[in-house]
C-alpha cells in the first residue's frame, strides 16, 4: 500500500490462511475489469491486469490451460441483450485469441434459456468454431426445464452419474462436475442432495492429497447472497471432503458477474455470462437481467481463462471481458 510497486500485490497474511482481508476486497473490486490471482504455497498473490506485464516474465507458463464460459442463455432476446448468439460468438473469438490455446472448455450452465432443442443446437454449433474441441458441461436451472434434465444428459453428459455429475483427470488435475440445480426446495438455494454427496466423497477419497482439484457447478458453492438464492444449501458438506487437499479451485456461474473468494486452501470464482449481466447482490429489487447501455454490454460479459502450473500447486484464474 505504501508505494506504487506493491499496491497490487497481497503480501500480508496475518492469519496464515492465505487471505489478506484488504487484498481480498481489492480482488473483488477488480471484478469485471479483470483480475489475475495466483495461489502459491497457500499464499495468494494477486495483480490487476494493468500490472500483468510486470510479472509475466517471472511467472512460468501454465502446463494445463483451459477456459470457462458460462450462462450463454441461448434463446434470450430481451432488451438486456437481443442477440446472445453474437456475444457467444464474440466469446469464441476471445478464446481463439488467447496467447496459450486452452486444451478444453468448461461450460458452467444455463447453456440455453428455455431448454429448447434449437437453443442447445445453436450453442453447440457456435462452439464448434472454438479452437478447443472438448467441452465439459454442467447444467444450469434453465437447462433442465420441464424434463428434469433428460435432454441435457442425453446431449452433454452421456455416461454421467445421477442427475449428470461426473469427474475426469487432465494432466494431474482432478476435475469434478457437479449438479446443483435439481430438486430445489421451497425457500432454499442450490442443492446437491445426498446421493451426489455420497458419490463425491468416494470420488475424491482415493486421490493423493497433493492432487490439485477443480470443482465446477452452476450455482455458487459458497454463499454469495442467500437472499437471492445465490448459494448452495448443502455445499459445506461437499467442501468438507476437500479439506485435506492442498489446492482446490471452485468455478461457478449463475450470478452473471465475476467474483472471487479465498478460504484456506479453496479459491472460489464465478465467471461472467456471455449473454447479459445481473445486478450486484442486493443492489436491485431482483436478480433479473440488467440493461446497460448498448456500447457497454460487452464490457460486462466475458470468459475465464485458467492455467495450472506444475510443481507450484498453482491455478491462475484470469477473467477477460468481451470488449475490445
Amino acid at each position: 500500500m505504501n508505494n506504487d510497486k506493491k499496491k497490487d500485490e497481497i503480501l500480508h497474511d496475518h492469519n496464515h490462511d492465505g487471505i489478506d482481508r484488504r487484498g481480498f476486497l481489492k480482488c473483488m473490486a477488480w471484478a469485471g475489469t479483470g483480475a489475475f490471482c495466483v495461489i502459491q504455497g497457500g499464499i495468494l498473490k494477486s495483480y490487476s491486469l494493468s500490472s500483468l506485464s510486470a510479472i509475466s516474465g517471472k511467472e512460468p507458463k501454465g502446463e494445463l490451460s483451459f477456459v470457462q464460459i458460462s450462462d450463454s442463455h441461448m434463446g434470450f432476446n430481451k432488451p438486456a441483450n437481443p442477440d446472445v448468439a453474437a456475444t457467444l460468438k464474440a466469446a469464441v473469438d476471445k478464446i481463439n485469441a488467447l496467447p496459450t490455446a486452452p486444451e478444453f472448455m468448461l461450460h458452467t450452465g444455463d447453456i440455453s434459456h428455455l431448454s429448447k432443442p434449437g437453443e442447445f443446437d445453436n450453442v453447440e454449433q457456435i462452439l464448434k468454431d472454438a479452437k478447443p474441441k472438448d467441452v465439459f458441461y454442467v447444467p444450469g436451472e434453465h437447462d433442465v426445464l420441464d424434463d428434469n434434465g433428460a435432454q441435457f444428459r442425453e446431449r452433454f453428459a452421456k455416461g454421467s452419474q445421477g442427475a449428470g455429475w461426473y469427474s475426469f483427470d487432465k494432466r494431474g488435475v482432478h476435475f469434478v462436475g457437479l449438479v446443483n440445480v435439481m430438486d430445489l426446495k421451497a425457500g432454499g438455494m442450490g442443492n446437491l442432495g445426498k446421493e451426489q454427496l455420497e458419490w463425491f466423497e468416494k470420488d475424491v477419497k482415493h486421490l493423493s492429497k497433493s492432487t490439485p482439484i477443480v470443482v465446477f457447478a452452476h450455482i455458487p458453492l459458497w454463499s454469495v447472497y442467500p437472499e437471492w438464492g445465490w448459494g448452495t444449501q448443502d455445499s459445506a458438506e461437499a467442501l468438507s471432503y476437500l479439506k485435506p487437499f492442498g489446492s482446490v479451485t471452485v468455478l461457478n456461474g449463475h450470478i452473471h458477474q465475476t467474483m472471487q473468494k479465498i478460504e484456506g486452501n479453496v479459491t472460489f470464482h464465478t465467471a461472467a455470462s456471455t449473454a447479459f449481466p445481473q445486478p450486484k447482490p442486493g443492489s436491485a429489487p431482483s436478480p433479473g437481467p440488467m440493461k446497460v447501455p448498448d456500447d457497454q454490454l460487452r464490457s460486462v460479459l466475458g470468459i475465464t481463462d485458467v492455467n495450472s502450473v506444475r510443481n507450484h500447486h498453482a491455478l491462475a484464474v484470469v477473467d477477460s471481458t468481451l470488449a475490445g
Binding site: F76, K78, P79, A80, H113, L114, S115, E141, H142, L145, D146, L184, K185, A186, G187, G188, M189, E227, W228, G229, P285, S286, P287, G288, P289
Partner: protein, 116 residues
C-alpha cells in the same frame, strides 16, 4: 401504456376480490359462478404472495419477468409448465385447504393459496 395495464390489472384484482367477498356473504351459495383471481409474477416475487379464495375460484398466474418461472404446489397437486415472459397458468381450486407453492427454478419464490 404500461401504467394503464397495471391499473387495469389492479382493477381486475379488486373486482375479483369483491366478487369473492360477495359470494361469501351470499345467502344461496349453491352453484356460484366461478370467480377469478390474478397473481402477478414480478421481480422474482409472487404478488400477492398469499391469497384467500372461496372454493371454485380460478387463479391465474402471469409472468411479467424477463426470466422464466413456474408455479408448482409443494404437494404437487398443481404444476405449471415453464412460463416465459407474459405466459400464464390457470388452476381452479375446488377443495378447501392451504396450498403452498413455489417456483422450482427459483425456490426463494414462494406463495400460498388458502381455499375456504
Amino acid at each position: 401504456m404500461r401504467k394503464v395495464f397495471y391499473l387495469l390489472c389492479i382493477a381486475g384484482v379488486l373486482l375479483a376480490m369483491l366478487a369473492g367477498r360477495t359470494r361469501l356473504f351470499a345467502a344461496t351459495p349453491a352453484s356460484p359462478t366461478p370467480a377469478n383471481m390474478e397473481v402477478k409474477i414480478d421481480n422474482f416475487t409472487f404478488s400477492p404472495a398469499t391469497i384467500t379464495i372461496p372454493a371454485g375460484t380460478q387463479v391465474t398466474w402471469t409472468n411479467h419477468d424477463d426470466i422464466p418461472h413456474n408455479v408448482v404446489a409443494e404437494d404437487t397437486s398443481f404444476k405449471s409448465k415453464t412460463l416465459d415472459t407474459d405466459e400464464k397458468f390457470s388452476y381452479t381450486f375446488t377443495k378447501p385447504g392451504t396450498y403452498s407453492y413455489l417456483c422450482t427454478i427459483h425456490p426463494k419464490m414462494t406463495g400460498k393459496v388458502v381455499v375456504q
